[in-house]
Subunit: 380 residues, 2 copies
Amino acid sequence: MTKTRIGVIGGGQLARMMAVAAIELGLDIKVFAEAEGSSAQIAATMVGDYTNIESIAEFANTVDAVTFDHEHVPLAVLRELEARGVSVQPPSRALEFAQNKLQMRKRLGELGLPMPVWAEIRTAAELQEFLGDNGGVCILKTPIGGYDGKGVRVVRSVQDASDWLSAEGLASVGGSLLAEEKVNFVREVAQLSARRPSGEFKSWPLVQTTQKDGVCSEVICPAPNASEATIAHAAQIAREVAEGIGVTGVLAVEMFETPNGRLLINELAMRPHNSGHFSIEGSVTSQFEQHLRAVLDMPLGSTESRAGYSVMVNLLGVDDQNDFVGSLDAVLTAHPQAKVHTYGKSPRKGRKMGHVTVVSDSAEFALAESHATVAALLDA
Amino acid sequence: MTKTRIGVIGGGQLARMMAVAAIELGLDIKVFAEAEGSSAQIAATMVGDYTNIESIAEFANTVDAVTFDHEHVPLAVLRELEARGVSVQPPSRALEFAQNKLQMRKRLGELGLPMPVWAEIRTAAELQEFLGDNGGVCILKTPIGGYDGKGVRVVRSVQDASDWLSAEGLASVGGSLLAEEKVNFVREVAQLSARRPSGEFKSWPLVQTTQKDGVCSEVICPAPNASEATIAHAAQIAREVAEGIGVTGVLAVEMFETPNGRLLINELAMRPHNSGHFSIEGSVTSQFEQHLRAVLDMPLGSTESRAGYSVMVNLLGVDDQNDFVGSLDAVLTAHPQAKVHTYGKSPRKGRKMGHVTVVSDSAEFALAESHATVAALLDA
């Protein structure tokens, strides 16, 4: 018998979009939300503190497998769940690397995978040395707790990082920082894939991603003008990461593409990811459906594209009033092809409030129409 | 400001699939279900009796517009809601015709629309005369209460209808029956469309439908080998019905296609309909999203197809145990392109438990794969 009950820890938009996929297929989804009124409240069966093992264990007891909307559940909690026999997908031994960027770099190095030059930094002297070896500039990251550009800084001198390098600063991020070379890249790409506990692996087409202030703003599927070699290499990297780290469910590998065509791994996400939202309309199987299938160890669906191009553009909050739903009326007449998604979140400037996808055999149309729809929503 | 709160009366699979569309767009959907544990329970905010005006009025008070999962809410209740200022979509003046097939035939006649020869039957003599005029056979229908083949009978003599023609039988269906010629058709087709209260109208491509024991079993979009004239005529018929009757939201017009290419209106449904389930994956805008947009008087989305062909096959219950979700594991490996939908309903033989859609540029593949997936689910 197929296991059919999924528990998602975290009530954000990823859990919300997983709920849609669960309803369509007829799987039973329950969400453990951090607060009332979450984006995924329609499927929320418990509200509580995800760092509390007893709360999480009580929730886990109602489902066949536990998965995640975010990476913030403490490893100790995950390991204790596993010790109690809960199916945690992805497992703690994989999530460890999603939670700690230094551990991730070390593990990717052991696997021989391509990435920027990096170093663990514990002192100003180590940072000074790394800057000297890398043209006087680097990307400095806190190994834990960062997301959407937070915990990431371009650094040109030790003074730029004096707060992080203080005893207090270091203590708050686990004792050290991660320095990476500032890669000279021509663009960023992402490779979305999924893997079942029993081993089946499938990847979507490579996509091109554009970040704005550290937040994903646009995704084009497939990545325009990618060579066959690059496409094959990206899929191979994703497979080696998933198998090497033991990832189950959806994995997003964000990469830099360099002027000479190399791919360097930037970040990993072991869950549905903003770079895969296009797949709701753009692919035969969306990342959300695939994630549910994968974590329940069900057969994976086709990742083929439904049309030539899909473009996704994020809809970021402008203030604490506009949820964009209220202005749909004024916007959609001119954009009948646009698929608008909003997340039911309280508005806040810069917050991910929704996204728009346009699928078309014309890349130009998909690009123009998705951006025009977002622009109209922002203006309305 | 866009109105964003929709109330659906009835908790069946249509309300369930409307809930998915509402979550995606970020609209607020509430369902008035007839019982706990309904197919649409994830969005159910009230459980009660839909013939009770006070319950329904209390529910209507929480939303901007009320729409329906089924046609069974009494006209008196609908009219009272309207009298109290509730936006009922479609309105009672349209639903009147969905609830009573005799009224529908009369109204379609006034509109000059093509349909089978028909007559109102109050006595055995009238039925005898109709049989005599129509080759000794007719389709006899109860004007109210029928669906999915119930309340419909092929009649070759007055004896075949003696129960319905008894004083008691007639009283239970409103005093008369509807007799229709048994149309010699080459196939059945359906025209799906949507209309906003403010007038905007859009139709999907004409589809071919196949019924088995009075229940929809297969839908092919677009209807294979339909002539340009037939396609245009079908869309024109739908527009004339929608405008002539004042339908808002989705309208499905089921029609016979005769050997000489005529279209004759069989049935109307003023809500999302089984003949439109293909649109979830097959169209830029699904019938469920379009229905929500239409009843809120929002701009309608594109009804273009996403690929050459979509084929939908219904998944009917085999017993009171099998919900099909439990056998997904055994089935999906061989069918990675199939989109399986199940409705979370208690299993029962013959009950609509779910459906499978396959979208492809090859009609042969879409047909073969959708049927193979359903066959595998039935066998598993």
